[in-house]
C-alpha cells in the first residue's frame, strides 16, 4: 500500500492521538475556541482533503504525494481524508480536522470545495488558514484566512503538444477530457497550440466523457480515436491510467497528465504534464513554522516549480526534444506568451484580436470558454 510507507513516520503523532482519544470529547467542546489542543503542541499541523481515492494514478494521487512529502518532515503532522464529496460533508471534515486534530492549515484540494463550503467555514475559524487548490481568492469578496494556489499546468501541456507535434505522422491528435470547464479547455488549447507551433496543419479531436472517472468510456474513446488515425493521445480526467494503457495497446503515442505515467507505456510514452505539489506544501509548512505571513494567492508554472514535465520517452526524437527544451527555456525566463492575437476559435470567430497578449497570470485566461482553431469538438454539453 502506497500510504503505508509514511505510516511509520507519522507514528509518534498517531500514538499520541490514540492516547488522546479519550480527550477527544474535551477537544470537541473546544469548538469555537480555536485550534491546538495542548497534547499536540509545537508541530505544524496540516490537513489534506481529496475528492477521490488517494491512489488514483492522477489528480488525487498528485496531492497525496505532496502530502506524503511534507509529512516526512519531523516537525510536521499531516492528516488526510479521501473520497470526501463536495457537500456538507467536506465542511464537517474540515471542522473535524480543526477541532479534533488541531490542524492549523487545511488544504481542500478539489475545486468544488470552495464555494460555498470553504467560504462558509472559514469565518468561523479565523485562526485557521484555508488554502484551496484551484479557486481564485478575491480580496474584496473572500475572507482573509482563505487563500488559493494553483499551477499553470498548461505550460507543460503546451510542451507535450510540441513533442506530440513532432512525433505525429498523421497530423491528428486526440484529447480525452471529462467536461468542458475552463481548466480543461485551456489545456486542450495549449496542447493544440503547442503542436501547431510545429505543424500548423495539425488537428486535435476532443472527446468529452461527461465525468471525471469513467474508465470504460475513456477506453472506448481511446479506441475510437486510434481507429480514426489519431496517433498521439492525451487526456484530462482524474486517472489517466486507462487512456495511457489503451494507447500503448493500440501502438500509438501518448502524453501523461497529473503524475508520471511513463511506466504504464514504455513504448509509446512521449512526455507528460505533472504537478509538483510537494514543493508547494513544503513551502507553506516552512512559512507557518517561521511565522511568515502566508500569501493569499500562490500561482506559478514551470518557472516557480509548481508544475513540471515528465521525462521524455525513449522514442522521442532529438529534434523534438531540442524544440521542446527551447520553448521550456522561454517559459522559464518568462518570455513565452501562449495566448496572443490574432487567434481564432474553432468556429471561425476571433477569440483574441490582433495585438492583444495575455500573459500566463492574466485572469481572463481562467474563464476560457472556447476551443482554439484546429480543435475538433464543441464546448456545448
Amino acid at each position: 500500500m502506497s500510504h503505508t510507507t509514511n505510516k511509520g513516520k507519522i507514528n509518534p503523532g498517531r500514538r499520541r492521538l490514540l492516547k488522546g482519544l479519550s480527550a477527544l470529547g474535551a477537544a470537541g467542546l473546544m469548538n469555537g475556541f480555536g485550534p491546538a489542543p495542548l497534547w499536540a503542541a509545537a508541530k505544524v499541523k496540516m490537513g489534506f482533503i481529496y475528492v477521490g481515492p488517494r491512489d488514483d494514478y492522477g489528480y488525487n494521487q498528485a496531492h497525496f504525494e505532496g502530502k506524503s512529502a511534507v509529512a516526512t518532515l519531523d516537525w510536521v503532522k499531516a492528516v488526510d481524508e479521501e473520497n470526501v464529496p463536495e457537500t456538507i460533508e467536506v465542511i464537517k471534515t474540515m471542522e473535524s480536522m480543526i477541532n479534533l486534530d488541531g490542524a492549523q492549515v487545511i488544504f481542500p484540494t478539489s475545486f468544488g470545495y470552495f464555494d460555498p463550503h470553504i467560504l462558509k467555514t472559514a469565518p468561523k475559524y479565523p485562526k485557521v488558514m484555508f488554502l484551496h487548490c484551484g479557486g481564485l481568492w478575491d480580496e474584496k469578496k473572500h475572507p482573509k484566512n482563505v487563500g488559493s494556489y494553483f499551477g499553470y499546468i498548461d505550460e507543460p501541456v503546451y510542451l507535450s503538444g510540441v513533442v506530440a507535434g513532432h512525433m505525429s505522422k498523421t497530423g491528428k491528435l486526440g484529447y480525452i477530457a471529462a467536461i468542458p470547464i475552463p481548466q480543461v479547455l485551456r489545456n486542450i488549447n495549449s496542447f493544440t497550440l503547442g503542436a501547431r507551433s510545429v505543424n500548423p496543419k495539425i488537428t486535435t479531436n476532443v472527446v468529452f466523457t461527461g465525468g471525471w472517472a469513467n474508465p470504460v468510456k475513456e477506453a472506448e474513446a481511446a479506441n475510437s480515436m486510434a481507429d480514426q488515425g489519431i496517433d498521439v493521445l492525451t487526456c484530462h480526467v482524474d486517472s489517466p491510467k486507462v487512456v495511457v494503457q489503451t494507447a500503448e495497446k493500440r501502438g500509438i503515442y501518448c502524453c501523461g497528465y497529473h503524475t508520471d505515467q511513463s511506466v504504464l507505456a514504455p513504448k509509446g510514452f512521449l512526455t507528460g504534464a505533472e504537478w509538483n505539489w510537494s514543493k508547494v506544501y513544503i513551502d507553506y509548512a516552512q512559512m507557518i513554522k517561521t511565522g511568515k505571513p502566508i500569501p493569499n494567492l500562490v500561482r506559478g508554472g514551470l518557472k516557480e516549480g509548481i508544475v513540471k514535465s515528465s521525462p521524455y520517452g525513449m522514442t522521442v526524437t532529438a529534434k523534438a526534444k531540442e524544440n521542446a527544451d527551447a520553448v521550456r527555456k522561454k517559459f522559464m525566463d518568462g518570455s513565452m506568451i501562449v495566448y496572443q492575437g490574432p487567434m481564432k476559435d474553432n468556429t471561425g470567430k476571433m477569440a483574441i484580436p490582433a495585438g492583444t497578449r495575455y500573459s500566463q497570470t492574466d485572469i481572463w485566461l481562467e474563464s476560457m470558454n472556447w476551443l482554439v482553431e484546429g480543435v475538433i469538438g464543441t464546448t456545448k454539453s
Binding site: M1, N205, T209, G210, E220, S224, D227, T246, I376
Partner: protein, 307 residues
C-alpha cells in the same frame, strides 16, 4: 470529413468493436442473472459480485502472474457472494431484492477495502485472439482482437439456451422457477436448486468483473464499474429471460455505449449526456412497450411475480 481517417466507416467499426469490448461484462452478468432468475429468484446484488470479481481477479493475476488464475478466483469470489445471497434468501420473510442491495453494498465495500493496494500495480492482461490477422488495416485488426472470454460467453449463451430447453436439469430449474409448489410436489429440493443457480450466477458475474479489470479497460480502480452489474439485471428483463437474447442485448448495450465516444472522435460532438443516457431510456421504453398488465411477460419465470 478529413481524408486521412476512416471517417464514418470508422465509427461503424468502433461501434462493432465496442459492442464486443463493452458488451462482454454485460453478457456474463446477464447470463448469471438469467440463470438465477430462471430458478425464481432475483439477485440484484450482482454489481457487488462484478466489483469483487474485478478486484480479486486483478489482485490474483498480479500476485500470481497468471490472468487465468485471476479469472478463476474472480468467479469463485462471485460464487461465494452468491452463496451468501442464497443462504440469506432461504430464510423466511427475507426479501431477495433487499438482500441483493445489501450484497451489492457489502461486495463493493469489501472490494474497495481490500483493493487499495492493487490500484497502482500493473497486472498481466488476458490475451486476445487476433481474428483480424487477414486484414491490412490496423483498425480492423484492433476491432477483431477478440478476447477469449467473449467467445466463452457466446458459447455459454448457446449452451444455456439448449440447457434450459432440453437438459433434464434445465427443466428442473425452470420448474422451480415457474412454480415452487409444483416443484415441491415433484419432490424437488427447491432451496438446493436455487442455491446452485444463485452460486453459478454469482460465478458468472465475478468472471464478468475480471474481464473489466484484466482485459478491458484493463485496470483496477474504484471507479471501474459504472453500474454495469445493475444494468445487466435490467438487461435480462429486456432479453425476456432468453440467454441468446442476453447475448444480443449485451452487444446492443455495448455498441450503444461505444457510439457516443465514436461519434465525438469524428467531430460529431455535443449531446454526450444524452448519448450516455440512451441505453437507460431505451430499456425503459422497451419495458413499457412490451410489458402488459393483463399477463406476465413471455419467458418470465412465474415465481418472480410472487416476490
Amino acid at each position: 470529413m478529413n481524408d486521412t481517417g476512416l471517417g464514418f466507416s470508422g465509427v461503424l467499426i468502433a461501434v462493432l468493436g465496442g459492442a464486443v469490448r463493452v458488451g462482454t461484462p454485460f453478457l456474463f452478468v446477464s447470463l448469471g442473472e438469467c440463470l438465477t432468475e430462471k430458478s425464481g429468484r432475483i439477485n440484484l446484488g450482482l454489481e457487488g459480485n462484478l466489483i469483487m470479481g474485478a478486484m480479486s481477479g486483478y489482485a490474483v493475476a498480479y500476485l500470481s502472474g497468471s490472468p487465468w488464475l485471476g479469472v478463476l478466483v474472480a468467479g469463485t469470489s462471485g460464487m461465494l457472494l452468491g452463496f451468501l445471497h442464497a443462504l440469506l434468501c432461504q430464510q423466511q420473510r427475507v426479501n431477495d431484492i433487499a438482500v441483493g442491495i445489501a450484497m451489492m453494498m457489502f461486495g463493493t465495500g469489501l472490494a474497495f477495502y481490500l483493493g487499495k493496494s492493487f490500484i497502482q500495480p500493473v497486472a498481466p492482461r488476458l490475451p486476445a485472439i487476433a481474428l483480424g490477422g487477414w486484414s491490412d488495416s490496423a483498425v480492423v485488426r484492433a476491432a477483431l482482437d477478440i478476447n477469449v472470454l467473449f467467445i466463452i460467453g457466446t458459447l455459454l449463451a448457446v449452451a444455456m439456451a439448449w440447457f434450459f430447453r432440453h437438459a433434464k436439469w434445465g427443466l428442473l430449474l425452470r420448474t422451480v422457477g415457474e412454480s415452487r409448489n409444483a416443484a415441491l410436489a415433484m419432490g424437488i429440493n427447491v432451496h438446493r436448486v436455487r442455491l446452485y443457480a444463485t452460486m453459478a450466477g454469482g460465478f458468472l458475474a465475478g468472471v464478468g468483473g475480471s474481464f473489466l479489470s484484466l482485459y478491458y479497460p484493463g485496470s483496477w480502480n474504484e471507479g471501474l464499474s459504472s453500474g454495469q452489474g445493475l444494468m445487466a439485471v435490467a438487461l435480462v428483463i429486456f432479453a425476456r429471460w432468453n440467454p441468446l437474447y442476453c447475448l444480443y442485448t449485451s452487444l446492443l448495450f455495448g455498441g450503444a455505449a461505444a457510439l457516443g465516444p465514436a461519434l465525438q472522435s469524428v467531430g460529431v460532438s455535443g449531446g454526450y449526456y444524452l448519448f450516455n443516457a440512451a441505453p437507460y431510456i431505451l430499456t425503459l421504453g422497451i419495458m413499457m412497450m412490451t410489458a402488459s398488465s393483463q399477463q406476465r411477460c413471455a419467458g418470465m419465470p412465474g415465481e418472480l411475480s410472487n416476490v
